[in-house]
């Protein structure tokens, strides 16, 4: 039902593009799709601070830009701090009457590396200070811009150029960092996960985040065919499988309360997801079993939190 609705309802989205075509993302890049949907959801009255990473590089080769809204790139690890400054600058200038009062949404946009690793401190600081902004992490599960190196958001078992599958090691040996939980631990009003394979859900969450006062954090799983070694035409399907296998559940945490956006009475076997990606090619049945077990456990925990309606 939700699936059908999603496919159909996409047509109800605005035709306007704020992240313009002509950018240089790879074919089938779901990170670019995520950004495009985010931009559609936000409309004109927005300022975006991007971290260094694929989305910055593909969208801004001087003198070109793919951005039809104000856009700013400063460095890799400081998108949250730059957004803090933008939000504060607007606030004080409006208070002092030097800018007309109007609602302008401030966005920090960063990859998983710019969020879970090098930018975590700046993010934590900005969330703690309570700036009125949305932090959006487009998670493609590695440092793609620099050539598919591991991040702390790379899933267990994935082969990357710095966690290669070799004779004695089987790719990434650590489990994916739970960024949404870290964000939620800052007691901010709104945290959500999303995936462009569920465009309506994603857009609704962006709009909700924009309407809420105070910091909001969105974590968007973004399939990267180049880094995942998957077929470009499978990006949407892979996003769906990530959700349907329970690997990447869609949920919200509103004022500490967990709520599953889509619940599955039965999760699909993770093999369906894993077998479509070259980065997992080397995984043994045993390792896949290990991952499945962990996914199920975490999904059950999440469901329990949602059922209780309480958090953390």
């Amino acid at each position: 039902m939700t699936e059908k609705l999603n496919v159909f309802a996409v047509r109800t989205l605005t035709q306007k593009e704020y992240f313009a075509p002509g950018h240089r993302a790879c074919q089938g890049c779901a990170e670019a799709l995520a950004v495009r949907l985010v931009a559609k959801a936000l409309g004109r009255n927005v300022i975006i601070a991007s971290a260094t990473g694929c989305m910055e590089v593909v969208s801004s080769p001087i003198p070109f830009t793919a951005w039809r809204v104000p856009w700013f790139h400063v460095a890799f690890e400081n998108a949250a701090a730059v957004a803090s400054g933008i939000e504060s600058g607007l606030k004080v200038l409006m208070r002092k009457g030097r800018l007309p009062r109007k609602k302008i949404v401030t966005i920090a946009l960063a990859g998983d590396g710019g969020t879970a690793d090098i930018g975590l401190q700046a993010l934590s600081g900005a969330l703690e200070r309570g700036h009125d902004f949305i932090y959006i992490c487009t998670d493609n599960e590695a440092y793609m811009n620099t050539g598919i190196q591991r991040s702390s958001s790379t899933p267990f078992g994935a082969s990357t150029t710095t966690s290669p599958a070799g004779k004695v090691k089987m790719g990434q040996i650590t489990w994916k960092k739970n960024m949404p939980a870290i964000a939620a631990a800052h007691n901010i009003p709104y945290v959500a996960t999303a995936c462009p394979s569920y465009p309506i859900d994603l857009v609704e969450k962006v709009k909700k985040a924009a309407s809420i006062e105070g910091p909001a954090y969105l974590h968007i799983l973004s399939v990267c065919p180049t880094g995942w070694r998957s077929a470009p035409e499978l990006s949407i399907k892979l996003g769906r499988l990530a959700v349907e296998t329970g690997i990447f559940p869609l949920y919200e945490v509103e004022h500490g309360k967990y709520h599953l956006s889509i619940d599955f009475p039965r999760l699909r076997p993770i093999k369906e997801y894993i077998r479509l990606q070259g980065r997992f090619r080397h995984l043994t049945e045993e390792m896949i079993g290990q991952i499945e077990e962990r996914v199920r456990k975490e999904y059950a925990e999440l469901k329990e939190k949602a059922a209780k309606g309480v958090a953390r």
């Binding site: 001087i62 951005w67 701090a81 730059v82 004080v92």
Partner: protein
């Protein structure tokens, strides 16, 4: 004439930031910068200054916040020292290349290791090429005055570059000096609210901070170089306007009894007052010694420097930082480069002194001049040594 008040220099600096009507302040505490930001937070807490004040989680973020706020058109300020500057150094290069007129005070302090909270210039020398306008203050009045000068200059549409005011840690930041305050109406006239050429705003969307491929990168650097070099006339003009308002006229290179001197000491920052005392003592003995104080470090005032020193037989350059494994101190390197093209030029003798808060008294300056004169007399024309090493 404004009021003269005895005040700790850090507090006067914060008062200047208040009088400059800064909109956003973002900083992280580090000795000896702390009193500046503590006083600013007090001013904001008491409603005496209407600004957004953030004590952020690191210096890297402190400057990043300023970059964000400045890009919206808000006048932004930060202040740091030593390790803090090292941590934010990445963003210093970006702020200037993005042409954001942020003003930063650096309470200069040695860089670790070993960790030292005391003064030298190694912190700012580590970002020498960051593309900001860089001033060195000699005393508290300089620091206070240069907050207004720096903002007016930085925000000038023909300049649009951030500016650093170097204030020696402790020797300036923590001493009480008489400061002549400027009336607020005068400041408001001298420094009207910032009007950016471009700002981040949905009414006129712009993209800032894109990626430069090889066919364009060099041109962006050339533009930055032209802007910083080209700011010199504006700097002189701004100092002139400030002098007309206050009677305090500043120069890129200021001299003391140097006009006829055979030996000229060259220094930056708070060494100035002690070195002047040494000049007086040596003059009393009939020695031909003077002093040149470099107030403007970037853009380097090549012409003014040559004018001030070319007639001397020797220059004794006293650096407060060391370029380990290099040619001596950074000021001496610059001085030598400035003079190299001259057919007749003074011999340059270089001392590195006052590292990590080591006191340098008038008698130390005299000893350095003695030593340099003897060495040069004996034919050592490339002298460089670390002064006062205990053995």
């Amino acid at each position: 004439m404004g009021k003269r008040v005895g005040m700790e220099v850090s507090i006067a600096a914060a008062e200047a930031v208040k009088q400059a009507n800064v909109d956003v302040i973002s900083a992280y505490p580090i000795t000896p910068q702390t009193h500046v930001v503590e006083h600013l937070s007090e001013l904001v807490a008491n409603g005496e200054l209407d600004a957004e004040f953030f004590c952020v989680e690191s210096e890297h973020s402190a400057l990043s916040v300023c970059v964000g706020s400045e890009a919206t058109g808000a006048r932004s300020f930060t202040c740091t020292s030593s390790q803090g500057l090292a941590l934010m150094s990445e963003i210093t290069y970006i702020a200037s290349a993005l042409r954001l007129p942020i003003v930063m005070i650096i309470a200069n302090r040695a860089l670790s290791a070993p960790i030292s909270i005391w003064n030298d210039h190694s912190d700012v020398m580590s970002i020498r090429d960051c593309g900001w306008i860089q001033f060195f203050a000699e005393n508290g009045q300089d620091v206070y005055d240069h907050v207004f000068i720096a903002y007016r200059l930085a925000e000038d549409r023909n300049v649009l570059l951030p500016a650093i005011i170097n204030m020696d840690g402790f020797t300036l930041s923590h001493v009480i000096e008489p400061i002549e305050f400027i009336e607020q109406e005068k400041i408001d006239r001298f420094l009207p609210p910032y009007q950016p050429v471009h700002r981040l705003h949905p009414d006129r969307p712009v993209s800032m901070g894109g990626i430069a491929l090889p066919p364009i990168f060099t041109e962006t650097k050339k533009a930055h170089e032209v802007a910083l070099q080209g700011s010199m006339p504006k700097i002189l003009e701004t100092w002139k306007a400030f002098g007309d308002m206050t009677g305090r006229y500043y120069q890129p290179v200021e001299t003391y009894k140097a006009e006829d001197a055979e030996t000229i000491m060259v220094i930056m920052g708070s060494f100035g007052e002690t070195a002047s005392a040494a000049v007086d003592l040596m003059r009393e003995e009939g020695r031909s010694v003077g002093l040149a104080k470099i107030r403007l470090w970037r853009p380097f005032p090549f012409e003014a420097f040559k004018q001030a020193t070319l007639h001397a037989k020797q220059l004794v350059v006293i650096d407060r930082a060391i370029s380990i494994g290099g040619p001596g101190g950074p000021v001496a390197s610059e001085v030598k480069a400035a003079l190299y093209g001259e057919p007749i030029r003074p011999v340059v003798y270089n001392f590195v002194a006052g590292l990590g808060g080591r006191d340098v008294s008038p008698s130390d300056f005299i000893k350095m001049v003695d030593k340099a004169e003897i060495e040069i007399e004996e034919g050592n024309r490339e002298g460089y040594e670390i002064y006062g090493v205990r053995e």
